[in-house]
Structure formats: structure tokens, C-alpha cells
């Protein structure tokens, strides 16, 4: 009775008054169908049920859900400011979710575990996001002038450093993963000679991505982020400097060790020079094969024989020999 009565005022003709006096209109409640079906008790042992008259405990009257008192133009961000599991008495939406027998409506929001299980984003309504963005705007400095395009800022800031912070509900605020530091840069931003570039690429190995032309160092062997960062920068510096050093044993690199075909140090150059200087006498200037020919031979051998390379080779040979 009491709950029935405490709801009396909800049915007050507030709306009609509102029309006259401009009172805020309260949101309407969907009528709840309550079926008073009791659980049957499974009586395994057929003991005579002992009827004990329990003393009725006097309970304080329960108030109706507070959604009834919410105005339709209320500030929802104040009612639901932070993430929280769904509560039917606080959300003035006629939500239904769950499965029942065919044809029946899905269970209403009251005592509905389905609605409580799924994560909701009631705290992230567009107005809430707008308000929060507005509130933290004052901590943002403007974008630097002169760095408007990606090309510009990439030229001025060639190295990317990526670190990650973790926030977790554990007794400790530390997370081992946070020590990881990733630095990456475009190889084209470094100045190399051919030997240094070759050596650098050999040193970094698969840390170089050929498709994007980037070198990436991931360091996690030290316990602290600062140490890992320093170590990554050290690695970059050391590899770079080391790549310019020519060790004595590098001179003993034989043709079998070469990773690409080079015209300059190969038999075909000698052969071509032989042909070009067929009739030359001792002491005459030697004619060397033109660079276009050298290039197309290199291309033919390094890339393999295909129609284009072969045709090009034919043309260059003809040009060289003036046929």
C-alpha cells in the first residue's frame, strides 16, 4: 500500500500545470507489469512443514525509483558522471533486454542482469564529452607555428620515441611493460656513403623495414624507461659510427662474399674493355665502357633476365659497339 501511495503524487496532473506555469515536466514512466508468481519450493523429504510464524519486521517504506522525479530537461552529465554499471532506478530510459518465450516482450530494465552485464557508455554522451573537452582545453598549448604539415614536422623532428603508460587496479602502480621504449627514424635522414650504408644495414639487420625505409629500435633490457631510452639512443649512435669504420679484414672480401653484382670489379668490365680496345696500341688512352652500359649489365644480373632488361642490354651493346 505504502509504495502504491507514495506514487500517488506522480500521477498528479503536473503536466497540465506545467503547460500553464512553465514547471519542468517530469519524464514519464513506462507502466510496469508485475506478475506476482512465487517460486515453488522443491520439497525433497516429505517432512511436515512446520509453520513458524515469523515476526514481521517493520520496514521503512521504499521510495519509488528516482527516475520518476527526473525532469526531461535535466543535466544528464550530473546524474551519470562516471562509468558505472547500469541501474534501473537511475536511468530514465524504457530499456528492455533479454530473451523470453516467443511473442512476449523482452524483460524490462528492472532486475535485469543482462543490462547490468554489458558495459554502458551512459557517461560518455556527446554533451559530456564536449563539456570535458572544454574543461581541459585550458591545459593545451596551441600547435606550433611553422609545423602545419606532416612533411614539415617530419623534417624538423626525424626521430620518433614511443613509450606507454599503464593504469591498472592493482596494489602496485608499476607495470613492467612501461619500461619498453621504441625509437624509429627514416634511414634517408642519415647521411651515409655506400660502404657505411651497407654496413649499417648489416648491423641493424631486421630492425630495418625496407618498405617504409625506417629503422626501429625496441629496448627493454634495462629495468627503467629512462635507461632503456638512453640505451636505444646509444645503440643508434654506436651503429651509425661503427658503420663508417673500415676494418682491415673488410679488404679481404672476395667476389663470393658480394651481395650484389658490381660491374666495376667483375669480369664483364675487363671483357668489354678488351673488345673496345681491340686494336689499340700500347700507350694509347684506353676506352672504358660507357656508364649506361655498366648500369644495364648490373641491372641484368642483379634483377635477373627479363624482356625489358634484355632489350635494354641489346640496345646498349649495339650503341657501345656502334653496330
Amino acid at each position: 500500500m505504502s509504495t502504491g501511495l507514495t506514487r500517488v503524487w506522480e500521477r498528479l496532473p503536473l503536466k497540465k500545470q506545467a503547460a500553464q506555469s512553465g514547471i519542468r515536466v517530469f519524464s514519464q514512466q513506462q507502466p510496469e507489469i508485475e506478475d506476482e508468481e512465487e517460486f515453488r519450493v522443491l520439497n525433497l523429504r516429505t517432512v511436515k512443514q512446520q509453520f513458524q510464524r515469523r515476526r514481521e519486521v517493520r520496514r521503512d517504506p521504499v521510495t519509488p525509483p528516482r527516475t520518476n522525479r527526473m525532469a526531461v530537461d535535466q543535466d544528464w552529465t550530473a546524474a551519470w558522471p562516471a562509468p558505472r554499471s547500469f541501474h534501473p532506478a537511475s536511468v530514465p530510459l524504457p530499456l528492455r533486454q533479454g530473451f523470453t518465450e516467443r511473442g512476449a516482450a523482452a524483460p524490462s530494465k528492472f532486475a535485469n542482469a543482462e543490462l547490468m552485464k554489458i558495459p554502458n557508455f551512459l557517461h560518455l554522451t556527446p554533451p559530456a564529452i564536449r563539456q570535458q573537452c572544454e574543461a581541459i582545453k585550458k591545459f593545451c598549448s596551441p600547435w606550433p607555428k611553422g609545423l602545419e604539415t606532416e612533411a614539415k614536422w617530419q623534417r624538423h623532428f626525424p626521430v620518433e620515441v614511443i613509450t606507454t603508460d599503464y593504469l591498472q587496479s592493482l596494489p602496485t602502480i608499476r607495470n613492467l611493460e612501461a619500461r619498453r621504449v621504441t625509437i624509429s627514424l627514416k634511414l634517408s635522414d642519415l647521411k651515409f656513403d655506400a660502404h657505411a650504408r651497407d654496413k649499417f644495414l648489416r648491423l641493424v639487420g631486421d630492425r630495418y623495414n625496407k618498405d617504409t625505409d625506417t629503422v626501429t629500435f625496441v629496448t627493454d633490457r634495462c629495468p627503467l624507461r629512462k635507461q632503456n631510452y638512453d640505451y636505444a639512443m646509444y645503440l643508434l649512435t654506436a651503429c651509425y659510427h661503427e658503420s663508417f669504420v673500415t676494418e682491415p679484414w673488410e679488404a679481404s672480401k672476395s667476389e663470393a662474399d658480394m651481395e650484389v653484382y658490381l660491374f666495376e670489379r667483375n669480369q664483364s668490365k675487363i671483357a668489354a674493355e678488351g673488345i673496345l680496345n681491340w686494336s689499340a696500341k700500347e700507350g694509347d688512352n684506353k676506352i672504358s665502357p660507357p656508364p649506361a652500359y655498366a648500369q644495364c649489365v648490373e641491372q641484368l644480373i642483379n634483377e635477373g633476365e627479363n624482356e625489358y632488361n634484355l632489350a635494354k642490354y641489346k640496345e646498349e651493346v649495339k650503341k657501345m659497339l656502334n653496330v
Partner: protein, 658 residues
């Protein structure tokens, strides 16, 4: 788990520095060759906007307003767990806190289970506290630590142990122990983390005006005696301790002694003596004289007065019985302190209010000037009495000036910035809202008042029965019967249904303001009123069984009867009438004649002559005007023999002959 990924870009200059650091000839190619050709567009990175670690959180929290339909966030947001009376609010909050206490007790009781420290960085409060006994090994550093944690009991214990062992204690440490003991009067203070207890405790402990609680000849004085030669700090701490716990005579004597010995004391020590001037002298003139003497002494010692001095002087003035002297001396003090550059706090204004707005004194509008001065300002706590301002200001608005617009200004000030932190405790908050609501319901139109009522009740403030009576009176004056069902449901929830005066006025409002069925807003009212009446009837009946104080009166039952009849619930109405009829000897008074009249009219419509005759019989037996009823019955029904015979026996033959 949340994670945030940071991308940092290193500028070319810094990478070049790193690569070129070893000074080898070839590395310069990396830095210098590339740069000059492309260094076309200069850029400038703006400075980082400085912020503290919590600034962003506070900015985000600033976007969240108050949801008036929700309870305070310390309670669970669930209809079953939202407290709906002042007692429930207190109980729920305190039970939550007692859970915390139980956890703390278990932590101390089973300390062996809590020795592990999983948290990083370690949370000291989660570890069991150190236990000091007669046999524990202690040294100066442990005493120092205990004083820093303000653990009075343990500090005293450790001090005694050190004394027994005869180990020396440095003068500084002794002084800080003296300060600790004086500040807390050698009693364990209420731990700081029990905020709910602090919020509710002031209700029953109002020791402001109680006598001395200083422990004479206790540890503080012993410590003081040990300090030789006497330092100004030792004097100051003992004097302040004595003044705080109202050992007034000795505190003043000590001050004089220090003066004779030419010991330089500090401002706050003088402030503490000025605060207790009213205990030292009896009449206003003597108090004022002593006060000025103390102030002169301060100026001789070249001490700069501060806010504490101002408030202490005003406190002294507020105890003057002589209104004129109080007024003039307050007006004298204020400009002088203004000249000294002391900014008043809310506590200062509190004292001004109690000096100027006295119950017996003339009406003073000082609060208008105060509000003009401080409107829109944000305050921080500076003086213990700052929290008294809002409750007192609202009290002045209601009882002294009865001014609605002023009250609204005070409320606006309370909700400016973080000023709500200064509302005090639960008691002061409820005094504040009691005065605010009572004032509004007397001065505002009922529609505007109900808007405020909707905002404040029940989550911020729950009206006491006295205020409920005021609200009902306002409704009665405005004939706003349409609000009664709402108010009644609140009364049920707040457990006001056992106050006879409240029940009577609810019924009176509903009976006297017969709803006009032609207005669309009032079409459902008779039905609702009948429901309220029926609910009230059932509640009172139940309450009588439970031996509560409330009981029916004839008047009350008559009103319920009328309302049920008007609501068209004749069945229940006849039940209520049967109750009246059966318990005639127990119910004091009789229902109004109009109630019986309406009942009989309804029974004519319902064609139930026996009920009508019962009503007539009741009227005859209780010596009420019965001829009108009889006429009504006679004309309304075509009575059969038995009924006719009964009618005759009740009102006599003569009636029918007419």
C-alpha cells in the same frame, strides 16, 4: 587496465648532437649538410602550460553538477539504500564508517596477517601500526616519529620509557612533545580519517560553553617544569593549551608572569588569551578594558595582530550584554584592523552578525552590507569559526529580518565555488536549510516554493515535523490542495505520520478546499485525496495496535469519512463509519455534522438505507442535529416497514407527520 601511448618527436638538433658527439670527421655530414638547405621555415614551440598532477582531474570534476534526485555520493544509489530520514542518513553513513573501523580493528588484532606489503609504493596506513609496551626498545628517533604522527598516547608512553632508562632527550624534542600534549590536552584525538563521525559528532557534543577540561598537574605541566631555562615557546604552548581547554585563570597568570620576566610571546598566544577574556571578567566594561590592555601590550611588544586577533576581539565583544557598548566597540575595532591590512574571514562576519543582530536588540541591516561586500567571492577556511557563518546568516535572514531576497543571496554565496565546504557539519547544514525553507514557504508563492522544495527535499535536507507544519500552513493559506498528495507521500517516507497536528492539518486542508471538478488540473484530486485519507486511516489503525501515541479523534475520522465519500469510495467510507459507530466510547469527540450529512447523501445515491439509518442513529445518540438527516433519508429513499419503524423510533412520530 588503461594504457596511454606517448609519441615523442626528437628535433633534428638533438639527434645530430647525439650522432656527432664523438667528433669523428664523417658524422658532421649528418648534421650540417642536411640542415642549411632546408632550414627554410623557422618554428617556435609554445611553452608547456604548467599544471599539478591533479589539475586535470579537478577540471573534469568541475564539469559535474549536483543531481538533485540523487543522494549524496557516500550513499548507495538504490531505492532500497537511499536514506529517507535524518536518522537513516546518520545510521547509513555511520555504519559505513563503522565497517571501516572494524577493518582497522582486524588489521590491528591480526597483525601477523598483514605484514606483507604488496603495494608499490608501500601504503603506510595498510600496515599494522607499531605497538609500544613497557619492554620495547625505544630511542629519541621513535619519539620524534610518534610526535610527527601525533600519536599522543604512544608518544607519552615512549617518553616515560626514555625517562626510566635515563636517556637524555633534546630540548627541541621536549618542546615539540609539550606542544603535542598541550594541543590535545593529553587525550587521544579522533582520527582524521573518520570524516563521517566528524560530520555528525557536533550534534551532541557542544562543549563550546562548557567549563574547564584542562588536566591540572598533568604531563604538560610536568614537561613545562622540566624545561629550564623557560623558553618563550614553552610559555606560549602552555598558555595556549590552558586557554584552549579553559583553564583561564592560570593561563592569564602565566601570561602576566611572562610579561614580568620580559619574555617575548607571539601573537597567537595573545589571541588565545583574548578569546577567554569573557571567562576572566564579568561585566562588559571590565572585559573591554582587559581586552584593550592586552592589545596595548601586544603593540608594546611590537607584535603584528592577525586574523586570529580580530576574531578573538570580536568574540570577546559578542559576549557583552550591553548592546550599545558592543556595537560601538565593534565599529571601533573594524576600521583599525582594516588599516592594519587584516582581511576579515567568514568567521569575522559571523561575529558581526551575532553582535549586531540580537533577539532583543534593534533591527540591524548589517548583513546587507556584508553580503554586498562578499557576494561572489570564494572563501577558504582560515579560522575555526568560519563554518558558523552560513547557518547564522540564514538564521538572521529568517528570524531577524524575514527577507527572502537576502536569503537567496546567502544561498547564492554558499553555492559559489567551493564555499559549500564551509557549511560546517550536518547540524549546521540542517539549521541552514530549516531556516531557508521556513522563510521561503512564508514569503514565496506556493508554486515557486515547491520548485525549491523539489530541489532540496529529500536528498539535501529532510524537513523536521515543525517545518512540515509550516509548509502545510503555507499550502492551507494558498489553497493549494493539489500539492497535498505529494507532501503526504513525503510525510509517509519521512515518518511524520504519528504527529497528530500534522495529520489534522493535512485533513483540514483537503476537506476545506473542496476540489473544483471543472478545472482540468483538479479532476483527479478527489480520488487522490480519498487515497490519502484511506492510507492515513490504515496507518493510524496500525499505529494504535503498536501502542504508539497517536489515536483517532472524532474530528479526524469525520474528515476521513468526508474525503472517502468525495472520492467515491463508499465501501471504505461505510467501513470507517462502522468503526466510528462501534468505538463511540473510545473516540474523543464526534465527527462534524457536515461529514455525516455528506455520508448520508452518498448512501442515498448508493441506495443503502441501513447505512443511512445507522448514521442517523449515531447522530441521535450523540446529541447532534438529526432532523436534517432524517429529512434527507425520508425524502431520498422509499423505505420499507422495518426501516420506517426504525426511523420513527429515532426521531419520533411527529417528524413524519409534517
Amino acid at each position: 587496465m588503461f594504457l596511454s601511448r606517448h609519441l615523442r618527436l626528437l628535433p633534428r638538433a638533438s639527434i645530430a648532437r647525439s650522432l656527432g658527439s664523438s667528433g669523428a670527421h664523417y658524422t658532421t655530414a649528418a648534421s650540417s649538410n642536411a640542415a642549411p638547405a632546408e632550414e627554410d621555415s623557422p618554428f617556435e614551440i609554445p611553452n608547456r602550460i604548467e599544471r599539478t598532477p591533479t589539475d586535470i582531474l579537478q577540471a573534469l570534476a568541475g564539469t559535474v553538477g549536483r543531481d538533485h534526485t540523487a543522494p549524496h555520493y557516500k550513499f548507495h544509489d538504490d531505492p532500497f539504500l537511499i536514506p529517507m530520514s535524518n536518522a537513516a542518513k546518520r545510521t547509513y553513513a555511520m555504519s559505513k564508517e563503522s565497517g571501516r573501523k572494524a577493518a582497522k580493528w582486524i588489521k590491528e588484532e591480526h597483525r601477523e596477517l598483514f605484514l606483507h606489503q604488496e603495494a608499490q609504493p608501500a601504503v603506510e596506513k595498510f600496515a599494522p601500526s607499531m605497538v609500544y609496551t613497557e619492554n620495547s626498545e625505544v630511542d629519541e628517533s621513535s619519539l620524534q616519529q610518534l610526535i610527527a604522527q601525533s600519536e599522543v598516547k604512544d608518544a607519552v608512553l615512549v617518553y616515560n620509557l626514555l625517562e626510566q632508562k635515563g636517556s637524555p632527550i633534546s630540548a627541541d624534542l621536549k618542546q615539540s612533545l609539550l606542544e603535542l600534549v598541550c594541543f590535545h590536552n593529553n587525550q587521544e584525538p579522533l582520527p582524521e580519517e573518520y570524516i563521517e563521525e566528524r560530520w555528525f559528532i557536533q550534534n551532541n557534543r557542544r562543549r563550546d560553553r562548557h567549563g574547564k577540561t584542562w588536566k591540572d598537574g598533568d604531563l604538560a605541566e610536568k614537561l613545562y617544569a622540566e624545561i629550564e631555562p623557560k623558553t618563550p615557546q614553552a610559555y606560549a604552548s602552555l598558555i595556549r593549551g590552558m586557554a584552549k581547554y579553559l583553564q583561564c585563570e592560570r593561563a592569564y597568570a602565566l601570561l602576566q608572569e611572562a610579561g614580568e620576566k620580559q619574555i617575548q610571546l607571539d601573537t597567537n598566544t595573545f589571541n588565545s588569551i583574548i578569546e577567554i577574556v569573557s571567562y576572566l571578567k564579568d561585566t562588559a566594561e571590565q572585559r573591554w578594558q582587559l581586552c584593550t590592555e592586552l592589545l596595548q601590550e601586544m603593540s608594546q611588544q611590537k607584535l603584528r595582530p592577525n586574523l586570529g586577533t580580530l576574531n578573538a576581539v570580536l568574540q570577546c565583544i559578542s559576549t557583552f550584554g550591553n548592546f550599545k557598548l558592543a556595537r560601538s566597540s565593534a565599529l571601533q575595532v573594524l576600521p583599525e584592523f582594516k588599516q592594519l591590512g587584516v582581511n576579515p574571514s567568514l568567521g569575522t562576519y559571523y561575529y558581526l552578525l551575532i553582535i549586531f543582530c540580537r533577539e532583543r536588540g534593534p533591527v540591524s541591516h548589517v548583513i546587507v552590507d556584508i553580503l554586498n561586500d562578499i557576494a561572489g567571492k570564494e572563501f577558504q577556511i582560515e579560522h575555526p569559526k568560519d563554518t558558523y557563518f552560513f547557518a547564522t546568516a540564514m538564521d538572521v535572514c529568517r528570524n531577524h529580518l524575514n527577507d527572502k531576497s537576502l536569503a537567496k543571496k546567502v544561498d547564492e554565496l554558499l553555492h559559489t565555488g567551493k564555499n559549500y565546504d564551509l557549511v560546517g557539519d550536518s547540524f549546521k547544514e540542517s539549521v541552514y536549510y530549516r531556516n531557508y525553507l521556513a522563510l521561503l514557504c512564508q514569503t514565496e508563492s506556493i508554486e515557486d516554493f515547491m520548485l525549491t522544495y523539489d530541489l532540496l527535499v529529500p536528498n539535501i535536507y529532510i524537513p523536521e515535523p515543525g517545518i512540515m507544519e509550516e509548509i502545510l500552513r503555507a499550502i492551507e493559506i494558498n489553497n493549494a490542495v493539489e500539492h497535498v498528495p505529494r507532501i503526504w507521500s513525503d510525510m509517509v517516507v519521512f515518518d511524520h505520520t504519528h504527529r497528530e497536528s500534522l495529520l489534522l492539518s493535512v485533513l483540514r486542508i483537503m476537506v476545506d478546499n473542496k476540489p473544483n471538478a471543472e478545472l482540468p488540473a483538479q479532476q483527479q484530486l478527489p480520488e487522490q485525496c480519498a487515497k490519502v485519507a484511506l492510507d492515513m486511516y490504515e496507518r493510524v489503525e496500525e499505529a494504535m495496535k503498536r501502542l504508539r501515541k497517536v489515536s483517532f479523534t472524532g474530528q479526524m475520522l469525520g474528515n476521513i469519512l468526508t474525503l472517502l465519500v468525495r472520492g467515491g469510495n463508499f465501501e471504505k467510507a461505510s467501513e470507517v463509519f462502522a468503526h466510528i459507530d462501534k468505538n463511540q466510547h473510545r473516540i474523543p469527540g464526534t465527527p462534524a455534522e457536515s461529514a455525516l450529512h455528506e455520508y448520508v447523501e452518498a448512501s442515498v445515491q448508493e441506495k443503502s438505507p441501513s447505512q443511512a439509518l445507522a448514521a442517523l442513529q449515531y447522530a441521535v445518540e450523540n446529541n447532534m442535529e438529526s432532523s436534517a438527516l432524517a429529512k434527507l433519508i425520508h425524502e431520498g429513499f422509499t423505505l420499507n416497514e422495518t426501516h420506517l419503524a426504525k426511523l420513527k423510533t429515532l426521531v419520533g412520530e411527529s417528524f413524519l407527520d409534517k
